[in-house]
């Protein structure tokens, strides 16, 4: 998968998330991307998308980047020994990171939103592995 293909969805999600979308889909996208392709570029994507999100949302600059980076780093290290793109694992991981994100950035545990996000992550990563992975290889 070409890296630049993910830049447009990142920008769209940043704009949507800071205007009308109550879900942190950008976090899920970054983590799914890292799980599917754990490389050094994941860190740069996590950094820049977090920065863009902070700029658009008005949250403290660097905070989203830091959370995205830490989560990506964990996935990167995990993927060296285990299968990080395993759908149930990824869903639980996204749920936990999303809870951490809401607590750190907004001061409360957005567990309902985190749950929806983890279900979406599960569905996406499951479908990706079942049907889409071959066409992108």
């Amino acid at each position: 998968m070409k890296t630049y293909l993910i830049l447009m969805p990142i920008f769209i999600l940043v704009v949507l998330q800071s205007s009308i979308l109550p879900l942190n889909l950008l976090l899920a996208l970054i983590l799914i991307r890292t799980a599917l392709k754990p490389d050094r570029q994941s860190f740069y994507l996590a950094f820049w998308s977090g920065l863009l999100l902070d700029l658009a949302q008005g949250t403290p600059l660097g905070l989203s980047s830091l959370i995205f980076l830490l989560a990506s780093l964990f996935l990167f290290l995990y993927s060296k020994k285990f299968e990080a793109s395993y759908a149930p694992f990824l869903a639980v991981f996204v749920f936990l990171i999303s809870l951490l994100y809401y607590q750190t950035v907004f001061g409360y545990l957005g567990w309902q939103k985190s749950l929806i996000l983890s279900i979406l992550t599960f569905l996406f990563s499951f479908l990706w592995q079942k049907f889409l992975v071959r066409s992108f290889r």
Binding site: L66, L69, G107
Partner: protein
């Protein structure tokens, strides 16, 4: 390693307030586009709702407007009554300060409400946001060209309130209003001996840096009494926060 260091540095500088101009410059196109998207989305949403049953929708909107106006009038009346009584009793006591308002457009409804007025227009953290004498929230973050508002239904928000019967000056009860999202609010810390019932108005008491006498909602249901010291109630907001386009910042 570099992105981690950069993030930490940026966070540190931002906390010190050294990046305000930088943020203002780079966030401008993003804020502009989020504003455009939000307005288009609101337009589309309204368009769709009108498609369903335009006449009924209009009637409901009109009735909701009238209901709000009535609640506002009742609150103003009761405030006037109370004020008169106070003035009669305490001649020479200071009148409430004059408030000034700054009109602002809502440009985003993500986790927090985003308005198009920021530091440039003199907005500072802690200012209240209202619409038709109804409290919507408080400014929690100010950038150069926009601000973030923590709405009263946010789970973080705790507002000391008083409960009044519509059209009456006397305070029925005191309590603490807690946000619960989706325009739902929760009234807690009302002593068991105090009388509250469906339809009572929930108004800011003016404590903990919240402005006084601002309407927040109406009691929807008093929850069954338990053995606890306090009684609780569900409160419905008087406005649909998601539909707001224009709000006012209160500048004292």
């Amino acid at each position: 390693m570099l992105p981690f260091l950069l993030s930490l540095l940026l966070f540190f500088f931002d906390q010190k307030g050294w990046l305000l101009k930088f943020k203002g410059f780079f966030s401008y196109p993003l804020v502009w586009s989020t504003g455009k998207i939000f307005n288009s989305y609101q337009g589309i949403k309204e368009g769709f709702s009108n498609l369903g049953d335009a006449q009924r929708e209009e009637q409901i909107t009109q009735l909701e407007g009238k209901l709000r106006q009535l609640a506002v009038d009742q609150n103003q009346l009761s405030s006037c009554l109370e004020e008169n009584e106070r003035i009669k009793k305490l001649l020479g006591s200071p009148l409430p300060p004059q408030w000034h308002f700054l009109e602002a457009r809502v440009i985003g409804q993500g986790e927090q409400m985003k308005i198009d007025k920021g530091q440039r227009e003199g907005v500072v953290e802690g200012m209240m946001i209202i619409s038709e004498n109804i409290l919507l929230g408080r400014i929690v973050s100010v950038e150069e060209n926009f601000s973030l508002v923590e709405k009263v239904n946010s789970p973080n928000v705790k507002i000391p309130v008083i409960v009044k019967k519509p059209g009456q000056a006397s305070v029925q009860a005191r309590g603490l209003l807690l946000g619960q999202y989706k325009d739902k609010l929760f009234l807690d810390r009302v002593l068991q001996g105090e009388q509250i019932q469906k339809g009572d108005l929930v108004i800011t008491s003016g404590e903990e840096n919240w402005l006084p006498d601002l309407l927040i909602g109406q009691i929807e249901e008093v929850l069954p009494k338990t053995a606890e010291l306090y009684q609780t109630a569900r409160v419905s907001a008087l406005l649909d926060y998601q539909k707001l386009r224009i709000v006012f910042v209160v500048i004292k």
